[in-house]
Structure formats: structure tokens, C-alpha cells
């Protein structure tokens, strides 16, 4: 049977209900939480910090990201906490997704640390993490030329579905999972990961709907950042 109606009844281009809040971790320089459906990410930024001389860059600061899924965050088995092959990789791509928009020239020789914690997961965790981290970096006052917004798009039965959840990700006949992060203002893509098979046209369509979803998510990001200072 072809997949036409989504498991949770959303439209193909409809994202899950989202919530964002800035300034959730008091001791951090900047922090934010981002929730899409059941996926819930917290990000905290600390720094500038002293780091060992092998990691230092004398011209500009170093961005260090740390992605972590909490032990009972998923609906399945307990996640083993701490660094794993998967979390190491996601930490790296998160850093690379954020770097193009931020300017670390004011922090030569030092490091800016971004900690991303997933308290609840239902697919699209790296995207939620990047979206939260971008808000946290802005809250921390790191100079950046735009926010980064991220969403995961799935291609199931040759159709594009935006912001897929775990149920759709595990669709029995297989699906292609495309994680996209972009700067909405410049329309530049900073992260593009693809897991599965898609045709050229499907990928194009997927990227277009990712852009549409990112526009909506960015509105929420902007609102959360401004709400912190609301009278």
C-alpha cells in the first residue's frame, strides 16, 4: 500500500507543532530549547575558554560542539550515555553546519563550546539540535550573519514529507531521510545529509519543501529570541 496519508494525520508540507525558548540555562552564556513534536533539544553555549595549544587557532576562535542523547530520551531501548560513534559524527556535522554563519574573529586562541542535549527524541534530533544551538549562539552574543535553521525531510514512496517523525523514519518499505540546515536569509545550505535512495527530481522537491519548513521554523526562532526581552 502506498504511503499517502501520514501516520499522525499531518499534511505533507506540515511541520510538527514547534516551541522555542531562549535563556533556559541560567549559568550558560547563552541557551535555548527547541521542541518539535516529541523531539526536544536543549542547547547551551559557554566560553570563550582556554584550550590546549594543539586545538588553538591563533587567528580565530574554535567552535566545539557536543551532541548528546539522554539515557531515556528515546521510545525504544535505553541509550547508552556519553560519546559514541554516532554522537561524535553528529557533533562534527553540527559544528560544520553552524560555522558558515558565525564569526569567531573576536576570540582568537579560545574556544566556544556548544552543548546540545536531547531530553526526548522522536527523529530529527540533529536538526532540532542545530536549530536550538543557533538560538543559543545568538543569545550568547557570538557575532553571526544569520541564524541557522534545520529540518529533516523524508521521501517515502516517491513523495516528499517534511519534518518526519520516528514512525515515518521506520517505514517498512524504506524511505530516504534528508537532513537539511540552512541560512534562510541567504538561502545557503550549511548541512545536507541523505540516507536512502532518491531521484534528482525528488531531491529538488525535498529541498524546496525544506526551505518552506525552515522559513516557518525561523519565525519561531526569531520570536523566541525577541520574547526574551519583551516588556
Amino acid at each position: 500500500m502506498a504511503y499517502t496519508k501520514r501516520f499522525d494525520g499531518r499534511k505533507a508540507d506540515e511541520i510538527r507543532p514547534i516551541e522555542a525558548k531562549v535563556g533556559v540555562v541560567k549559568r550558560a552564556l547563552g541557551s535555548a530549547s527547541f521542541k518539535t513534536g516529541k523531539t526536544w533539544a536543549f542547547a547551551a553555549v559557554q566560553g570563550p575558554k582556554d584550550i590546549n595549544r594543539f586545538q588553538q587557532d591563533p587567528e580565530k576562535g574554535v567552535l566545539r560542539c557536543n551532541y548528546n542523547m539522554m539515557a531515556f530520551s528515546g521510545s525504544g531501548e535505553r541509550v547508552r550515555p556519553g560519546p559514541s560513534r554516532r554522537s561524535k559524527e553528529i557533533s562534527m556535522v553540527t559544528g560544520k553546519a553552524l560555522l558558515p554563519v558565525i564569526d569567531l574573529g573576536s576570540f582568537p586562541g579560545a574556544a566556544i563550546d556548544v552543548y546540545i542535549e536531547l531530553v526526548q527524541t522522536d527523529a530529527g534530533t540533529r536538526c532540532a539540535g542545530i536549530t536550538a544551538a543557533a538560538m543559543a549562539l545568538a543569545d550568547a552574543g557570538i557575532p553571526m550573519n544569520d541564524l541557522v535553521t534545520s529540518v529533516a525531510v523524508g521521501v517515502i514512496d516517491n513523495k516528499v514529507f517534511v519534518d518526519v517523525n520516528k514512525e515515518e523514519e521506520d517505514y517498512e518499505d524504506g524511505m530516504a531521510d534528508i537532513a537539511v540546515a540552512m541560512s534562510v536569509r541567504t538561502k545557503k545550505i550549511t548541512l545536507l545529509q541523505l540516507d536512502g535512495f532518491v531521484s534528482r527530481e525528488e531531491l529538488k522537491k525535498a529541498l524546496e519543501s525544506a526551505y518552506g519548513a525552515c522559513e516557518k521554523i525561523k519565525e519561531v526562532q526569531v520570536k523566541a529570541l525577541k520574547d526574551k526581552y519583551k516588556v
Partner: protein, 229 residues
Amino acid sequence: MSEIKVNERDIIIPGEIIATGLDYLPSGNVIREGDNLISTRVGLVNITGRFVKVIPLTGSYIPKRGDLIIGKIADIGLSGWRVDFSGWPYQANLSLKEASSDFIERGADLTKYFNYGDYIVAEIINVLGSKIIDLTVKAPGLRKLGPGRFMQVTSAKVPRVIGKQGSMISMIKEATGCRISVGQNGVVWISGDSPEKELLAVKAIEKIEAESHIQGLTERIKEFLEKNK
């Protein structure tokens, strides 16, 4: 055609377009990308003539020449002191020449001037890269701090705590009778006759930090100080 897209004192976030066209010039925390002027920080828009800048509301301290900072003596070397100050991961240098106008003999006991753990108000005279920051205490108002209460505010809020020409801080000083020093790195030193008065000053400064972006701050702080006197 040049056009301002936002109002003065609007809260703005990174990536937001403040103005279009070439008639306006980017100033602090604003960059030009093509035709657009874009903010790089979360802050308040400030337009003076043709210059557009963003007054940041958040962020860590970045050392600048001429800033007054409050730091702690972390180490004593052969030819000076190393000073730790909050908001910056590296230590600054206070050389013998800049510490005192006395003649200090080779091998003299430097703890007589500044001992480990002493807090000082110092001026940054040189910033060369991230690790070479030179300090001086040879200017009026720069000194070793006595016993008192320390608190930390966001360094972006320091201009608000001080106020225009020091108006805010002198108002708090008058109302509480405390002696107060504010470093650009966000460290505030308060020393008063009684703990109650010191606490009132702490609370007033906390209030400034929380409400600095809302207009009519001076009036509110004045009211707060009078009510709690």
C-alpha cells in the same frame, strides 16, 4: 533608494536586515552584505546620522584598549604580575613599570605592592592578540580594592549600570552611601557601612541588569532606591 526597515531602539537579532541602500553606513555590530545592512548580534538598533549600529544586549567581554577592568592577582613573576579577569580565558600582564612609581629593586618582594588574591582596578593599555594584554594601575582611580562585596553582571549591561556620564552609578552611590567600582568586564565591587546598604546596591544593580532594555530605567531605579531606603 535607501530605507530603514526597523525603528530606533527595536530589538533586533542576527541576520535581520536593518536598512537597505548605500546611504547608511555600518557601525558597531552591523555588517554590509550587498545592499543590505545586517545585524550580527541581539541588541537594540541605534541610528545616528548615517551610521547604524546595534547595542548588544548579551555577550561575553572582549578586552579593548582603554577599558577599566576589575581583576585578581593570579601570579607573581620576576618582572610583574599576572592578572585574571572574568570573561576572558587568558591572563593579562601588569608590569613593574606600570604598577608603581616607586623604584623597585631587582629581587624585591613584589607581594608588598600586590599580593596573590588581591583585586585591582586596572586599565588595559595594550591588546595584542588574545594572550598579550597589558594593564596599568598608574592613572587616577586605579588602585587595589579593599574588602567589599563582589558581583558579576553581563558585560553588555555595564554601560547601563554606569549610566550617561556615570549618572546611574552615582545615583546608587548617593542613595546607599556605598563605594562602588564597575569594571568593563562586568565585575562590580561594593563596599558600604552596613550589609543592608550593600545589599540594596546589589539589588539595584540586579534590577538594572534585568530591565536595561526597557525605557525609563533611571526613573524606575530612583523609585526603587527611594522605596527601599
